[in-house]
Every structure is written in structure tokens, then in C-alpha cells.
Amino acid sequence: MLEIAIKGSKKYWIWLGTLLTVMAVAFALYIDQFMNGLMITGMSRDVSWGFYIANFTFLVGVAAGGVMVVIPYYLHDYEKFHRITILGEFLAVASLIMCLMFIVADLGQPVRMLNVLLYPTPNSMLFWDMCVLNGYLFLNIVIGWKVLEAERNQVKPPSWTKPLIYLSIPFAIGIHTVTAYLYCGLPGRGFWLTAILAPRFLASAFAAGPSFLILLCYLVRKFTKFDPGWEAIQTLSKIVCYALIANVFFFFCEVFVVFYSKLPGHMSHIKYLFFGLHGHGALVPWMWTSMILMFTGIVLLIVPAFRNNETLLPFTCIMIFIGTWIDKSLGMISGGFVPNPLHHVTEYIPTVQEIVISLGVLATGLLILTVLFKLAATVKEEVRG
């Protein structure tokens, strides 16, 4: 089936070439990081996780978001999603590979990463995160591949894929729950120390993932002969709407608890993010942008006239995607570290090198996504044609 990927139009190859160029530049800069250490980043003693872990966290959400097409299709036999289920699964695959790459980019001693397997430590949430992320990746590769292959051969997918599909549902919830547990179980970090964190992560994931999927559906329709179907997109946009409302609602629950109880250790982080603290407020414009984007997104999805507008919808999705990205990557990580446990304010601003390395990871993910989506679209064209 992979042979499909090496046959493509000129545009296809230019796109892949562009991605490969970004990857090459980023790799060169990563080599410098590998040789000289994480000194090249904007991270510090106080803000010890930065852009890499932020993007990792967000992309775990995008990966988990794939389950929002799997559940309706496989559990509720929602036929409209038949065509896009494979897209959701392949999006999860690409996102998870990016997640793992971001983790490796963030390690101080990447050559030792197998120590996590050599000395398995069940009391560490990172150990479980590794288990569920790799498990979910494996499940999606197997399921996506087998189901697509069956479709190509116009037979039913092997029966053993069914239990794997059902298993992938709790795994999707699991990856994002455990990722939230990385943060919310730490006693000294008031911003993360809240039981709403995992539900909030999931809500924002189910907004970000499907809104990205809608954008991908538009692209697939534009560049291939395969049409994912307007009705499927419509349903997805409703899912995004509910999830986004839940995300904002959970955030306000947190804001209420923190500011009504007036616990200083919990208030200071949100104050820093939205108003600045002791004269430091690098993230203030970002956080308000995020809020405005998410609120506008909600309005544009609730009102049917806006939601059903085929020209407007992709822009709505872009807004939501950016809004949730700021909320969950920039804000969620920096917000937890600033102020530090001793109430010092050290701000975090990623370096250019750090950003380019991150772009390299994103380019790799997009490359994988392009190839996988090309496979899916071509097979669907073949079958119909």
C-alpha cells in the first residue's frame, strides 16, 4: 500500500520537499543542542519545562481528539463518519510521533532514554505516560493500516481489529488523563494542583483535535478527489462546539475556586498569566488572545448560520486551534512554573533555536500526516472509482 506514497503530483513533491527542508534545518540545530546541551533554550532553573513539553502536551490532546470520530462510528454506528474515521486515526498517529519526538528533544540525556524501560518505575507518572502513548500509537497504526487495507481489497477488516478498536477508546482517554496527571499530582505547584486538570485537558483536546480534523477535511477535499462529506464536517463542528464550551466552563470553575477561596499559592499563577505579576507579564497578551479566540469560536459554532457557512467554518477552526494551543501549551506550562515555589518570578521566552527545532518536529509530523492521508484518500478514490 505504501507504494501510493511515491506517486504524486508536482505539488505533492514540492510540499514534501519544503517539509524536508524545514526538518533538515531543525535537525542541524538539534545537533547543536545535542552537543552543547539545553543551554540553547530559554528554559531555566525556575522554568524547567518549556516549548517542547508545551507542544507535547497540546499534541497529546490532538491525538486523543481522534477518538471523537471513533466513538460515534464504532460505538454508535454513525455512518457519516465512515469516511473520516481513518483520517482521525492517522491524525492520531502523526500527533503521537510528534509527541514522542518532543519528549526526546526535551531530554537532557536522550541516549539514555531506554532507562525508562530498563528501570521501570510504576510510581512515576512519566512511566505510565510512556506506556499509554506508545500503546495508543501502536493501536492506531495497526487499526488504521488494517482497516484501510481491507477497504482497498474490498473485504471486511479482520475480526481481531474490532477488540483493538474498542481498546483504543479508553487508551485515547488514557493518554490525555495520564498526561494531565504528570502535572496535577505535584504538591508544590498550585496552578496544576486541581482535579479539573484532566477533564479540562480532555475538553480542550476534543475541541482542538476535531477542529484540526475539519481543516484537514477541507484540504483533502481541495487536493484530492476524495470528499469526506459536508455532513461529517457538520457533526464534527458540533463536537468541537460542545468540547470548547466544556473547556471554557472548566476554566471558569477553576477561576471561581481559586479567586473565591483566595488561596495565594493558587491565585498568583492565574494573575501572572492574565494580568502580570511584579511587573512581569510576557504572556498577558497571549492569554487574552486565547480567551477572545475561544469565545469567538464558541459564538461562531453555536449560531447555526455561522456554523453552516462553509466559507467561515475553516476560519473558525483555525481560531479555535490557535486559541486552545495558547491556552494549553504556552499558558499551561509557563503558568505552572511562574511564580516558582519560592515566589520568584522568572519568565520563560523560547529561543529562536528552540522554536525552529519545534518546527522541525511539526514538519516531521506533517510529512507523516501527508503521506498517511494520501494513502487514505487514494484508496478511497480507487474504491469508489
Partner: protein, 285 residues
């Protein structure tokens, strides 16, 4: 894969180390002590090794603890304590100008990426929950020394995915620098900001390397180890020696110990007690 940073010593000092090691091996005349020291470095359970030799009596405890008498901490004491710790453990000083010949084209160090094992803080930073607008003036300006608390319930130990950070039977929370993958989960977990990450090779910023303690490679986390390597050799921690009586370490579980005697007589507080981490460092107010 050979990791350059893993080199125990820089070349220029290796000879010095071998000499020192040779002499001490002769002096001790016994392998167990060396084994014990190397076990500490590699993260083994050094406490269980037979370290009793004729010449060296290791200092041991059921649970090590520290008492800091805040009234005895002056700016001079702080300075000498921090310097003693730095020199003992090869902690880089980012204000130190690297030797141009030995380390050409060194990129400038970022102060915010520095490494601290024990350092000075104000009261309201060391005890942020106890901030009080009517706090006695003397406390507002008093220098406080903060370090790893060697918590009974250490969040960093719980967070570490490779057991590179672990708790010894004697209560010391210690690290295996060779196992650490540099994920920095422990840094997020520590509620005291006591951990530092080697964002870069430390060597150019160490004025004089102490051959008796490893220089860490880039990419690993580190923190106070309560001078476990010195306790093994019957020596008090470097900070205690330099503190002019302001810092005392001892066995918290032993009712006859000096630390317990001090705690019996004085009102002492611990940092962020409400978190339940059970710090082993006490501050006499």
C-alpha cells in the same frame, strides 16, 4: 556510546586524583572504603556495605536531618557555606570567567540556568506561606539558607521515571548522575526549588576541580546530597564545617542526638510543612 561529559575528571586533574586515590588506598589499606565511595557515586546502597575499617568510621544515622540556627546565620556565614559547598561538589559558578585557552569560544552563560545546592533566600521566599506584613524587622532582612530538605515523603523520588533519584535507608535523597535521563520531572515535582539542571557542560565554570567528587555531565539534574561522600569518610558535611556552628546535622530518629537535643530546646519550623513532604531540615527561629 561514550559520553565525554561522563569523564570523572578533566585530564589535567586525573593525575592528581590517581595520586590522591593511591595515597588514600594505602592509608586505608582496604578496598571496602573505596567501594563505598564508588557505590555512593553510582547510586548503590552504600549504607549496607561494610565500611568499618581501622582508620575510617563512617558517620551513620537512621534518618539524617539538619538544623539551621537562623540567629547564627550572617552574610559571612552564608558566603562561606555556599563557597564550601561549591568547592566540595564542583558546582559551576557562572560568574567565573572561563579560561580562554582551555575553553575557546565558550558561549556566555545564562544566570537563570545556574546550579545551586545551598543558597540564600529571604524569609518571605523561604517561607512564602508565612509572609506577614507585621513580621519583625529582623526577619525581613535576615539571610536564610535553603537547600534540599531530604523529605521523608520526597515528591522528586516519586516522580523520577528511572529511579535515578532515590531515597537511601538513612533518609538521604540522592541521585545517580549516570542514570538520570534529564527529563526534569523531579524539578517540577520539588516544592522547594531545590533542584538544578545541567543546561551545559559545567567544567569551564569551575575554578578548581575537586578530584574527590565527580563533575556532572551536561543534561542531568543535581542537588544537595548532604555530603554523603563525606559522611562515608567520617567527615561532617562541608556546609556544617563552614557554618561556624549555625548548621548541625545528625540522626533525627536518635533521641540522644545533638539535633534532637536542639529541637527539644528550641522552636523550629520547616518549609511548607502543610504539603506533608516531611522535610528533614529544621529552622530555629
Amino acid at each position: 556510546m561514550i559520553n565525554k561529559g561522563e569523564n570523572f575528571l578533566s585530564k589535567s586533574n586525573r593525575r592528581g586524583f590517581l595520586k590522591a586515590a593511591g595515597i588514600s588506598a594505602v592509608a586505608i589499606g582496604a578496598a571496602p572504603a573505596i567501594k563505598a565511595v564508588s557505590a555512593v557515586a553510582s547510586g548503590g546502597e552504600a549504607t549496607n556495605l561494610p565500611v568499618k575499617t581501622a582508620k575510617i568510621e563512617a558517620l551513620t544515622a537512621k534518618r539524617w536531618g539538619m538544623v539551621i540556627d537562623t540567629s547564627k546565620i550572617t552574610d559571612e556565614v552564608v558566603e562561606s557555606v555556599v563557597a564550601a559547598c561549591r568547592n566540595t561538589h564542583n558546582i559551576p559558578d557562572f560568574d567565573h570567567k572561563p579560561d580562554e585557552k582551555k575553553y575557546p569560544n565558550i558561549r556566555p552563560a545564562k544566570k537563570m540556568q545556574e546550579i545551586e545546592w545551598i543558597w540564600e533566600e529571604h524569609y518571605h521566599n523561604a517561607f512564602p506561606e508565612m509572609e506577614d506584613e507585621f513580621l519583625a524587622d529582623k526577619f525581613k532582612s535576615l539571610p536564610f539558607l535553603v537547600t534540599c530538605n531530604h523529605c521523608k515523603n520526597a515528591p522528586c523520588v516519586q516522580a523520577c521515571p528511572t529511579k535515578a533519584t532515590f531515597k537511601r535507608e538513612d533518609g538521604i535523597v540522592i541521585m545517580d548522575f549516570h542514570r538520570c535521563i534529564g527529563c526534569r520531572f523531579c524539578m517540577a515535582a520539588c516544592p522547594y526549588g531545590s533542584r538544578s539542571f545541567n543546561f551545559r557542560d559545567a567544567r569551564p565554570f569551575i575554578e578548581k576541580i575537586n578530584p574527590e567528587f565527580p563533575v556532572r555531565s551536561k543534561g542531568v539534574v543535581e542537588k544537595c546530597n548532604l555530603c554523603a561522600e563525606r559522611l562515608e569518610r567520617g567527615l561532617q558535611p562541608a556546609c556544617v564545617e563552614a557554618s561556624e556552628g549555625a548548621i548541625v546535622v545528625g540522626d533525627l530518629e536518635d533521641p540522644e542526638s545533638e539535633v534532637r537535643a536542639i529541637l527539644k530546646e528550641n522552636y523550629a519550623i520547616r518549609r511548607k510543612q502543610e504539603l506533608g513532604t516531611e522535610p528533614s531540615v529544621y529552622y530555629i527561629m
